[in-house]
Structures are given as C-alpha cells and as structure tokens.
Symmetry: D2
Subunit: 312 residues, 4 copies
C-alpha cells in the first residue's frame, strides 16, 4: 500500500476532523482539501480527486455517526485505512472584548451543544442555542461578522488560529471524551497486520427470524472474535429491512477472522468488507489456543493428511 | 393505565413530532407544550409537569436518534407507552414572492438536508445550507424576518400553518420515508397486550468477551423472540464499555418475552425495561408452538406435578 | 419419601448388584429378592411386589448398560432413587483341589471376560471362554456340579460365600474399575436435594435436523447445567428415529435445573423425568452467580414488579 | 482404494456378521476367516493378517455395541470402509425329532434372548435360558452334541446350513429389526464420495463444563451437518472423563464436513477420524445453499480477492 499524497476531510479548517487528519504521519505536509459533507468527502475519494478522506465515525458520547456509516456502506466500494482517536475538549470563544456575562446566543454543532449543555445551564442559563453545521463554522462566523450570535463552542485549536477570546475552557460534560475518525481510501488497499487490528463489515440480514442474527454473530463467536460495535441499520427501502454494521477485533489476515468472513459470506453473500486496520488504542485481543493461526494451520495440515492432499 | 391529559413534544409547533402526537387519540384536545430538546421533554415527564412526551426515536433513512435512546436509558426510569409512524414529506417553503431561482440559502435540520440533498443539487445546485435546530424552526425563521436565509425545507403542515409559499413539494430522496416516534410516560404504566407488540430494553454488557453478546441474544433466540433493532452504545464513561439498546417482538405479558427478560436479568441485573407497547405497523409475530403461552403453561404444570407443588 | 422395605436386584445372590444393594442403608435388614433379568426386576417394582430394584446402569469400562436404560425409558413410569458405585475386582475361582494349570474352561459374564482377557491370555492362554448369564451364576455352577467348565471369574464375595478356592485375585485389566448401579422405585418418590445431585432424563428428538439436538442441549448449557452422560438411542421402531438419555448435574429443585426441564418440555413434551438423586461421588457442581437460585429468585421478583404481580 | 482380498468377521460361521460380510461385493469369493471376538478381528487387520474385518456396531433394538466402538477408538488407527444393514430374524432350532413342547433349555446370545423373550414367555414359558457367546455357537452346540440344552435361537441361515429342525420362525419381538455392521480396514483407505455418506469420529471432550459439549456439536450444526448418532463414553481411566463417538451425515470430501472437522481439530486436537463411507440406506442429506460446496468455494474465492491471493 503506497502512502496517500492528497487528502480531504470534513471541514472547514480547524475542525476536530482536521485535527484527526494531522495525526496521520505525513498528512501535515500533504495536500489537504476540506469538504462540506461526509458524502462529498467520500465522493472525492471515489472520483480519485484525492487519495483518502478523514471522516468522523463514532463518538464516545454520542454513539455512531449514522451518515458516515451509511455513506460507506453503499455506492462504489471504499476501504478504511486507519482510525484516529481525538480528545474532544471544548472552549467558549467570543470576539475580543465580549465578557461571559454578555453572551446571549451561542453557535455550535448539535453534538457539541449536547455535550456542553450542563455547563451552559449552570453558568449562563439564559443563553440561547444557535445551530451551526460544525464547531469550526461557528467560530468562523464570529470572525466573519455574523451578528446572529456572540459566542461559539469550538475546539481550542480553531479559537487560537482565529485569534478569538477564550471565555471558558474544557466546558464539556465528559472530561475525557474522545471521538473516533477513520481514514477512507480506495478498495485496492489493505493495511498490514499489526497484531492489534480491527475489521469493519457491513452485513445484510438474509432473513428476518429469531435465529438469523444469532447465525451471523455465531460466525464471530465460534472463532473467538470479539465485536467492539454492532448496529442494525434500516436499508432505507422500508422500515423493517436491516443490515448490520460491525467492528470485529482482528485483521482479515488473522486466520480466525478470515474463517469468520468466509462463514459470513456463505450465509450472506452480499457482505461488504470495509477494511482491516490498526486499532487506535493499540489493544491486542486475547487469542485462545484453539483460534490461533497455529491451530488453524495445524487443522489444515491434519485434514490434508486425511484427504491425501488430493484436489477437492 | 389512565389516559395522559397533558403532553409535551419536541417543538416548536408544526414539527413532525407534533404531527406524531396529534395521531394519538385524545391528544388533539389535551394540553400540548412544546419542548426545545428531547432531554427537556423527558425531564418534564419525570418532574410530572406533564404526563407524557412524544419524541423521535428512529428514522427509516437516518437510523436511530442517539440522543433519545441515551436520554431514556439513563436517569429516572421512564416507560414507552406507544409508537407512531409519521410519513415524512418535505417542501421547499419561502416568503410570498420568492421564486425558486432566487433561493440562495436554505435553512433546515441536518437530517432533512441530507434527505433533500439530491433534489437541491439537481435543481438549485448553488443554494447553500443554513443549519437549523428543526425543520419547523427554519420555517418560523422566515416568518420572524430572519434574513440569514430565504428558503426553508419543512413539513407541508407548518408551511400551511404559517402561510408560506410552497416552491416545491415532496423533495425528499426517499418517497415513502417514515419516522418513528415514541410516547414516553412514567414507569407505573404498562399498556395492554394487543398481540402485535414491541418491547424495548437497555442491557448493559456484563463482560467484554466473544461470547457475552451471544449469551444476551440467545435469551431472545432460544425463546423464539425476534429483534427488530439492536445497537451497541458506549456507556459514556470510556470508549469500549457498552450497553445494548434493543427492540424485541412481543409484550412482557407474553410468556416467551417474560421468560427471556428473566434470563436477561440473571445475566445482566442492571437491565432496564423501557416498555411494552403496540407496534405501529400492527404486524403480529409468527409464534411457534414451543414458544406459545400454552407451551409455557403446560411446562409449568408438568414441572409442578414432579415437584409435588411443594414450595421451592 | 418413606424408606423402601423390600427390594429386588439383578441376581443371583452374590452378584456385584447385590453388593450395590447392600451399600444402601437399611437394605441389609430388609427383604431382598433376586431377579433373573433387569426387566423382571423393574416389573416387580411396577407391580408393587417390591418397593425398589437395584440394577446396573453404567460401567466405567464397558459404558452404558443398554438394557437397563431402555427398560426404564418405556412402560409405566419409574423413578431413580439413588446411585451406588461398586469397585469391581475379579478373582479366578475353582473347586477345591483345582490348580491354575489345570483350568481349561472358564465361565463368566461377557463383560467380565472382556475385562480379564489380558490376564487370561498372559497366564493361561489356552483356557476357553464359557459364557454365563452372570459372574455369580458362573460361581454357582461350580458348586452345583456343572462339569462344562472348571473355573469361574467372579467377585471375591461370592467365591468366599460358596467356599470356592481362589486361584488368582484382582485379575481385571483396570485396577480401579467401578460399576454404577441405580436403585429404582415408583414415580411418587423424589429424594431430597443434597447439593451434589444428578438428574436423569429421557428426551425424544422432536425433529431430525442439524439444529434439533443443539436446541435440546442448549436448554442445559444456557442454564449452566453440565451433562455427565449423553446417549442417542434408537426408539426401536426403525433405524434413524432417536431419543436421548442424559444425566445432568443438579436436582430438579435447583432453579436452573427446573428451568431447563421446563424449556425441554416446551420443545419435546414427551420428555420423561427419571429422577433427581444424590451423586455417588458427592461432587458438587460449580454454580455461577447467574444460574444460582438467588439469581432466579431475583429475576422473578424483578419481573413481578414490572407485571404489577397481576395474574397472567 | 484397492478391493480387500481377505476378510475376517465375528464368527463362528453362520453368524449375522458373516451374512453382513457376504453382502459385500466380491467377499463371497474372497478368503474369509472367522474371529472369536471383535478385538481379535480388528487386531487381524492391524497386523495385516487380513485386509478388512466385518463387525457389528449398532443394533436397532439394543443400541450401540460398546465393545466395537471402544476397540476402534483406541490403539493403532483403523478406518471404516462401509456399513451393511442385515435384517435380523430368529428361529428356534433343535435336533431332528425334538418337539416344541419338549424344549427345556434354550441357548443363544444375550441380545437375541432379550429380543425373543416375549415369544418364549408366551409359548414355552418354563424354558430356561442358557447363555451362549453367539447365536451361531448355540446352533453348533446342538450339532456337536452338547447336552446342556435342547434348543437354540439362531439365524435361519445357520439352522439350514447345519440341517437343524426349525420349530418356530420369526420369533423376535421386533418384526423389522436390522443390525448395523461395519467393514473395517487400514487407515490408508478412503472410500469415494457417493452423495449419501456418513462420517464416524471419536472426539475427546477437552474440558468438562456446560459449554464444552455445545462447542463440539456447534461445529456440526453451524455447517448444517446432522448427527445420526452420539454417545458419550468413559475413557476407561476413571468415571467422569469422556469422549464422544458420533456419526455425522456426509463425506470428508464434502466442504461442509471438511470444515467441521477442521473446527473440531482446533478445539480437540486428539480427534480421531474413523472414516467416511456410503450409508447403507442410501439416504442423501438435504443440503442448504449456504453449506453447499458452491457456497464454500464462492466464499474462498471472495476472500482470496480481498487478500490479493497473497500467501498467508
């Protein structure tokens, strides 16, 4: 896999998403183009306008970012290349000269507003919420002279870049909040196995009966593969038709994961492999002896002896 | 269960959520108070300011509405009383005299924007997005003289109520989109069994190993109880600690559901029961003989005979 | 449960089965009638000629004693009251004056012959086998003057009782062989729970597909109930129609066992409960918290709260 | 696999086992040597004294023949080459001139006695049982002038061969009883796949907990492989240590069976493969699409594309 040389990300400049991208080795020196939506970012990869896109995928406070999951699940295949965790801390920023007591309307993204609500209620309870498409956009608005609001909840980075006054720091409810982002590229790439990997899949539910979901999950459990995320998602055609989006521990080059994927393909051939990539937290799964690569290789060898290595 | 006599809902007036509330028999004549957020609506129920709250919970295009799920999952217990499906159709509304070609900035909620994006790109591609906290708020802004934008994507109802011009109708991507809403009350209520019911649960994952999720789901599958929705949700404490939010077919007064709930409670005693209520689609599950109320009652009788009906 | 006052056993006098019966407290002083076959012994219980019958059920060298299992599985219901383990040691007995070198034909039961075969081949390789219906019958034959054979492989006890010469002791292959016997009574009896119990069941397989056996075994596994024996048995009608004979750890008064039995009854209502009784080895199972009586009782209580303790 | 040219079988001549052997194409013209026990027959194969041995393995009335299963499970590996079903019908034979009313003692094998017991009780209730090592041996005894008994329950064939008088025909309880026999050879043989095959395995239980047996059986169920026989068997070392003897539908060259065997080997590497061979009843299993050879091959191909066919 060659290193991407151009990137897009959910903009504008200064978002947590750009912060995630800047964590990727080499990205700081590469071409970086902000995109207005996740869908636009992914389309730029599909059309080869850029090599890869950084987009938010999960948030430890707010859960899965549905738009991203759905956008990767359909259309031309894409491949997740890596994930990045970014600590989320919020500041209340304003134009120079504004005091905390004078803030009446606060612009920010809905998710950020939810996370800072307790602080706002306790400190400036009569301040109103003004929706913004991103925390960075809220900060830009102050600089651009938007008079609709006088405060912005945003990242420390963008406040500093734009020279805004910081009226209060670390105002989120959850002091150690992090958001998960993924770097998405084209489907010819497969990051190397590191021993602490994650595999993301989209699995259509072939039939809607009590055992169907169990049969899918058993493909993981029977091979000792843990899931760190599962979500049923409506297919969009009609309510009650589902697919599953899951993150499984391990890399497709791990024999137990490869075997689970083959089992899934037999049950649900419309399965989509979205990538195997290093876990941001570098946590290796505990692998039991009977699901190790050695156990798989030993079983293959044993069966080969019985079959006389004849072609099947 | 007595009929609620006062309601709140995710406002302002004219939202799809109010439309959902108006589908509830008797709600049209009852007191109805809009709330600014889902959390505020639920708190009004908890504090007994109102009897029940209508809030969005799932969307056939956008998936689960995370904020609602999380808000019900924690804090003082609540109980889902019923669900309503509302067909979602969008119009582009504007002040009288505005022509389609003149629209430069369109206000709406992010979810609505995502659903109408294709139409906008095809018809007025240079129009910009202006985020709003709800589709109804976007419409109100036009009436209130907000000059930040000149169009609003909203429901036909609110456009009509406010006397706005409708420049285009039915502009959503998905022609038969519906959104699911739930009416939430206090935990002393249990709606009667109808034979076509749904039970919503929040289940903490007791341990994080490949078999733990299977053990939970087996409680449903082993009793022939289908799941129509499953989502793993971070607990908010740290990334990698989960609970599951699920909708199961059937009512807690169905023996198979009651038995599954007891099995879940043994594994995960922190389980939260969020309610059993009639399915909006009135679809009854197929129940196999061995999971029928009769099979449960017959097995109880048989075992009673062996135990000599002695107290255990 | 009142103490039985009369017994039968697989005779004649002096068999290992009588030794098992003599291990039962009080049996030494009670009336004891030998029976010629397992079926005859069980019929004597059914007809109330005696209160209970001791019969062999499993053998650590030879496996399940099929005739006993089948005889209990069909016909008028019976109930296993207890099990006894008897150490099996064999001697070669002969009439006084016979030397080892002079032994030409050895009478014994087929199972005993199999267990002493190595010793015979190594010591008196040219001795022939003379089949006998029991080890005790072989010993009696010597006393009764049967000239067909000049040696008998039997228990030390019967050799001593009959005053036979013991030419060699402890001649079995397996030095610590034990045989398992069960005391069988009528179905109104249920031995008290001891904490180290075993439950024996006969379970018809409702359907012959890959999941049917799993569904049955899952009733045990899902409640943490271990199986110490399982055998598929043809029903006798035609090859390929099965029932299962199993021993499960625990007593029907243990909540997890009672719950498993109810689950089995729902799937396979023709299930037969053959008894819960103390394990001969007094080994208590490890019970996990979620399958303890407390977990069951706590879950019942929790669900009762949800249902408002209304009658269902 | 070359055709065996010499055989042994559980003798003496005229047993049902020889009848089973004579059903094998070519065996009528091959060398056939009777053996006195199952163990001796198998040892003759291991020592290459003969090419194959016919031995009884299961009986639709009496269940598994434990000695055979245990003898194949241990020691030098053997391979089952085919199975034969033989209809079991019994006659009461005697020396010429004996009348039914004059029969006092009847010799036969214990299993045959059990199957004819009802007829004896109804017809000549005062006749005694005289144990014999086989039904054929009982018949030979009459010819050899053994005066210990005056009747023999045996096969019609041996009665005819020895010129004995047949006093009653078809005297077994079960009119359509059949016994299953297997032809056992050396482990370099693997019979060709016929589409209606059976695979016999011996599987040590790696750990004794409620889930261990389920984990083993799931290897079959998850691949849609039905079991037609299962028996837990004590290992012989001490009571409570087990292995499982199973017959599974299908041939090791069926992808679903091969995959199940690999799964079993990973869990229980001491697994022993006893052979894949044509079912005597020629009944083909129903194979679902997702466990067909095509589904396996398609999944292998799909995964190969993801892995770039790189060596793993």
């Amino acid at each position: 896999m060659t290193q991407p040389s151009s990137y897009t990300y959910l903009g504008p400049e200064g978002t947590f998403t750009e912060a995630a991208l800047l964590q990727v080795p080499g990205a700081g020196e590469a071409r970086r183009v902000p995109a207005s939506t996740v869908a636009a970012a992914l389309d730029a990869v599909r059309s080869e306008a850029v090599d890869a896109a950084m987009v938010p995928i999960e948030n430890s406070v707010e859960g899965g970012v549905s738009a991203t999951l759905d956008a990767i699940a359909v259309g031309e295949p894409l491949r997740i290349l890596r994930e990045e965790l970014v600590p989320i801390t919020f500041v209340l920023a304003a134009r120079a000269g504004t005091t905390l007591g004078a803030v009446r309307r606060i612009a920010t993204h809905g998710h950020a507003w939810a996370q800072c609500r307790s602080w706002v209620d306790a400190t400036i309870a009569d301040a109103e919420y003004f929706p913004s498409s991103s925390t960075a956009a809220a900060a830009y608005g102050l600089v651009d002279g938007d008079e609709s609001y006088d405060g912005a909840i945003c990242s420390p980075l963008v406040a500093e870049r734009l020279g805004l006054a910081v009226l209060a720091e670390d105002i989120g409810d959850v002091s150690d909040a992090v958001t998960r982002f993924v770097l998405v590229g084209r489907p010819d790439a497969l990051p190397a196995r590191t021993g602490a990997d994650k595999t993301t899949l989209v699995i259509p539910l072939p039939e809607d009966h009590p055992g169907a979901l169990m049969q899918i999950l058993d493909q993981f459990a029977a091979r000792g593969v843990n899931l760190s995320r599962i979500e049923s998602r409506p297919t969009g055609q009609f309510l009650g038709d589902y697919f599953f989006s899951v993150d499984a521990d391990g890399h497709v080059e791990d024999a137990r994961v490869a075997d689970a994927l083959k089992g899934l393909h037999r049950i649900s051939p419309g399965l989509r492999f979205l990538g195997s990539y290093a876990r941001a937290d570098r946590r290796s799964p505990a692998v039991e002896r009977h699901t190790s690569d050695e156990a798989f290789s030993s079983a293959d060898h044993w069966l080969g002896g019985i079959l006389g290595d004849r072609p099947r």
